[in-house]
């Protein structure tokens, strides 16, 4: 058994701040993915939805919500939620069904409608929920991104200009991506002149919250050989891992790290890609490109190291060498990343997979990474959800 499944079709609803019902975005993306796969909705045997927590009950049961929107046809249904790693878990559910022989072809959909500004928790007095407690104390998501960024500055001599250069690179890549929300080039001066949000991170260093939708049609390799109309893109690994005790990082939304009195502290983020490499039996040297979760432009530098693209402390050098630009040795976020998309939580990990698929098929136009054969996604959700997916051509 190969343990692999095929990505037969992909589709997105463009990211933006459209203010419409999330179902509309999911439906648009699902229809695009079905058309791309040349598969009829009535032939889908399993639908796997990524849940959203901000759109009421239909969001909690997104799999069924999308199935009803497409028209009930009796498919098996699943809904997954894992914060920012939701899409990877929804895909993993589909892969499990296919590899266990319980279905041949499945649809995976995630979509979100987001409020303006900071994401915020549910109301009440609920100190046992760390997400409530940290907001009560005044710690937003950018607080945590900024603590990591300041740490990079102290450990490795990173500067605000380095962080700004990541944004400049992402904007240059994403400006021609029709699905991106922010499609204009940005200069170092514009980033460095944007308002400070959480020192040392400025507005243009931090990803926005967006509306968007993404979908995949996935199938067994046999089904793909019979029905596929694109170069065969395979899922070689899906890692959905928790941290291992003792996690060295101050993890969103916690108030404190694990205590490393009785166990060695180590990096959660480095373990996420390591697990995916192990499953795919490849290493970072085999990658053609990567799509990483740049919640801040400083965090993209952390990912270079956590993916093993360079050693700790060398990410700024790798960036400035041009290796991670389109045309470089291993382009990172040729889609423009979260810097150009903003985050639509349950759709984002799926959007990363859409980009890899287009890249591996050679369909990315001006963003194309020449000769791409292997790509990785890396992503991390609140409350200890790491995810990383490897695709191969």
């Amino acid at each position: 058994m190969s343990g692999e499944v095929a990505i037969l079709g992909v589709g997105l609803h463009p990211w933006g701040k459209w203010g419409r019902n999330f179902i509309e975005y999911g439906l648009h993306a699902a229809r695009a993915a079905l058309a791309d796969a040349d598969v009829e909705w009535r032939d889908i045997q399993f639908i796997s939805g990524g849940a959203t927590m901000r759109c009421g009950y239909p969001g909690y049961v997104a799999g069924a919500t999308f199935a009803q929107a497409l028209g009930w046809q009796g498919a098996q249904v699943n809904t997954s939620y894992a914060a920012c790693a939701t899409g990877s878990q929804a895909l993993a559910a589909a892969r499990n069904r296919i590899l266990s022989g319980h279905c041949e072809v499945a649809l995976v959909v995630g979509a979100d409608t987001t409020p303006k500004g900071f994401l915020a928790p549910a109301d009440g007095y609920r100190p046992d929920d760390p997400d409530w407690a940290r907001f009560h104390l005044g710690f937003t998501n950018p607080t945590y991104f900024a603590l990591y960024a300041r740490r990079r500055m102290a450990l490795y001599g990173a500067t605000e200009r380095d962080f700004a250069a990541v944004k400049v690179k992402s904007a240059a890549a994403g400006c021609e991506n029709p699905n991106a929300r922010y499609r204009k080039t940005v200069t170092l001066e514009e980033v460095l002149g944007s308002p400070m949000v959480a020192d040392p991170l400025r507005l243009l260093n931090i990803c926005a919250t967006s509306d968007g939708g993404a979908a995949l049609v996935v199938s067994s390799l046999d089904y793909a050989r019979r029905h596929g109309r694109h170069p065969l893109v395979r899922v070689a690994a899906i890692a959905c891992v928790t941290p291992r005790f003792a996690n060295a990082e101050v993890e969103l939304p916690d108030i404190a790290t694990d205590s490393a009195v009785a166990a060695e502290a180590h990096s959660f983020r480095a373990s996420i890609a390591a697990e995916a490499y192990k499953e795919a039996n490849i290493g970072p040297e085999d990658l053609s490109l990567a799509e990483v979760y740049d919640l801040s432009s400083a965090m993209e530098l952390d990912w270079y190291e956590h993916l093993g693209l360079c050693k700790s402390g060398e990410a700024e050098g790798l960036l400035h060498s041009g290796a991670t630009c389109i045309g470089g040795r291993v382009p990172v976020n040729p889609s423009g990343g979260l810097a150009c998309f903003g985050e639509a939580v349950p759709a984002q990990a799926l959007a990363q997979i859409c980009e890899l698929t287009w890249q591996l098929r050679g369909q990315s136009g001006t963003r194309q990474v020449t000769g791409a054969t292997v790509g990785i996604t890396a992503n991390q959700g609140l409350f200890g959800h790491g995810s990383s997916v490897i695709l191969k051509r």
């Binding site: 100190p127 009560h136 607080t143 020192d199 003792a246 404190a256 502290a265």
Partner: protein, 147 residues
Amino acid sequence: MSERTRTPAIEGWYTLDEHEPYLIGSRCAACGTYRFPPLGGCCPNPGCAQAMLERVPLSRSGTLWSYTNACYQPPKPYVSPDPFQPFAIAAVALEAERMIVLGQVVTGVGVERLRIGMPMRVVLETLYGDSQSEKVVWKWSPLEETA
């Protein structure tokens, strides 16, 4: 004028001692692992089978691991003064506990006065309040500020 009532913003996470306040953690009697906030239940170390954690004071000082600030008003349940006042935030490494604990930085100390590695200690300050009552929280203060 009567004194304002003084209660913790979050119950059970720290003492209200004016002079030597401390954070309350939990600690595993078997392997020595700490936890903050002081949640009950099992030891978080998967290599330890201990079921109960005892409440213990955490170290009152540590070293600054990283820091930032909030330039914009956080959403609820943060309760903001009107107008909003930006504040600094510290992540402080406690040596004995081998853990990092976040907290706001004491009022009047901005990021320009912070440096990674500097000694910090726990103090109490108002998180929010009105003329009748104040909600108190722990904050981190550079050691020289409170010496």
